[in-house]
Subunit: 285 residues, 2 copies
């Protein structure tokens, strides 16, 4: 990661993901500064040697000395942070992010941003059910997917830098997708599945069934424990792709319901054979 060797990395937003970036990069020897409005997060990170330096407000000097900035904020706060603080940035600085949706964010930020700094968007597909820097752990990146999401405003150098960042943090498959390719994929793979898990937990009062559930029910609903502030923003920012995937799912689910109602054994078996075949492509064992 030549661009930033011997350079200052600033992490903005020291939650689970920001903290995990900090741990991974500090372990590799980088000098890590963090800004987070929560004094407890900064205090915890300093005390546990996760960062070298920490601030609770966007300090002009601190932002101005950073060569690379990793922004790990919720989408709306992210936009506001850039609007409020971009004039403090060092000329030539590179900015990346961790946001889970892209089309509704990347173009706006690139259009508003000063011409002498570059924003290369990225999505580290890793997480945990627990929030906060105290739960951060750079092992969640190990073998996870990392998507670099450039637009035609991005330089090859920035794309390459972002791929290197993912590599040194231990990510497995590193891909490059356009914002809309990313958002369509994430609408299906991540957002649709979260909507399903939520619906399964809220569609009926099922607490009394906890005694009877096995691993498969627990597996299906693990992601139903959800950070409501972040995910409601992510859903709305990806409204078109997500509701399109939801419509397709409803249509399919309803057709299976009709087969059950109509005793259509052959139709059901055909769906199950297709399901079994397709699922085998997702095996990693």
């Amino acid at each position: 990661m030549e661009w930033i060797s011997d350079s200052n990395i600033l992490i903005v937003g020291l939650g689970l993901i920001g903290g995990s970036y900090a741990k991974g990069l500090k372990r590799l020897g980088y000098n890590i500064t963090a800004i987070d409005s929560d004094p407890y997060a900064i205090e915890y990170a300093l005390k546990n040697n996760i960062i070298d330096d920490g601030y609770t407000t966007p300090d002009e000097y601190v932002i101005g000395r950073a060569d690379a900035i990793i922004i790990a904020l919720y989408p709306e706060v992210f936009k506001k942070w850039i609007a409020d603080n971009q004039y403090f940035l060092k000329s030539g600085a590179i900015i990346t992010d961790v946001t889970g949706v892209k089309s509704g964010i990347v173009y706006d930020i690139q259009n508003d941003l000063r011409d002498d700094v570059e924003f290369i968007s990225a999505h580290p597909m890793a997480g945990k059910e627990n929030r906060g820097v105290q739960n951060s752990d750079d092992r969640i990146f190990r073998d996870a997917n990392f998507i670099v999401v450039p637009t035609n405003k991005n330089s090859h150098k920035a794309i390459h830098w972002c791929e290197s960042l993912a590599k040194i943090l231990g990510f497995g498959k590193i891909s490059v997708l356009t914002p809309s390719e990313h958002d369509k994929m994430i609408g299906f793979v991540s957002q649709l599945t979260h909507c399903i898990a939520i619906s399964l937990m809220t569609c009926s009062d099922n607490k009394h069934l906890a005694d009877y559930t096995g691993d498969s029910f627990r597996d299906l609903t693990r992601i139903a424990k959800i950070n409501e502030t972040m995910w409601s923003e992510l859903f709305l920012l990806n409204k078109d792709f997500l509701t399109e995937e939801m419509d397709k799912f409803i249509e399919e689910f309803d057709s299976i319901k009709q087969m059950i109602k109509n005793d259509d054994v052959e139709g059901l078996k055909e769906k199950m054979r297709l399901s079994t075949e397709r699922r085998s492509y997702f095996d990693i064992d």
Copy 2:
């Protein structure tokens, strides 16, 4: 399990579950005979010391000497087996099963059965994605749920025997439910979740997305690899409860879709908070 100590246990249907019962009971010292129409299954089980004795056809003498019979067949084959072979049963024999639905099976079989033998229905809630005796493993029972499903035709002695059977096989929570309580529960906890996983795999051609999926998508779709003969029978036998749960799920899923369409952030957050709270009841850590 006093009733059958020093007695002959017959397992009918030597697949994944029948084979796992055989392994567990043989380990405990019981004498295990099996009947399965597949010569390979019998040969494999004999060779690997999973059973003491095996037959590919319902032998009158073999059935007649059994004190306890565990039937691990698909529902429709199970009904036929009882109709064809009940006159070979020893007077006083006890029969149990492993079928995943109850109302559509238990009453029919109890009504047809001779008065001098007793059928006590049970559902061991354990399984694997792979079929067959060669994948059987009695460790799948460890800490799993076991449901005894008596009707008012059953004796206390038989219910107690069935609970003991579950205990010695290592099951965790052992419960007693009526057929309709069982079927309503299983409609939600197991069948609805399988319908969701199938729909998620079949609603769009998603093979190209395999590269981008993380653990949560894999968790959600693990059960989409499904034995189509067994599950299509189970779905149809539980049609009313299952489609009722499917309707509730569709209604809830659709209301979440409407919230996304209408930018109803507060509504979404409320659903996510409820989902997070309810899911916490299902934690076992």
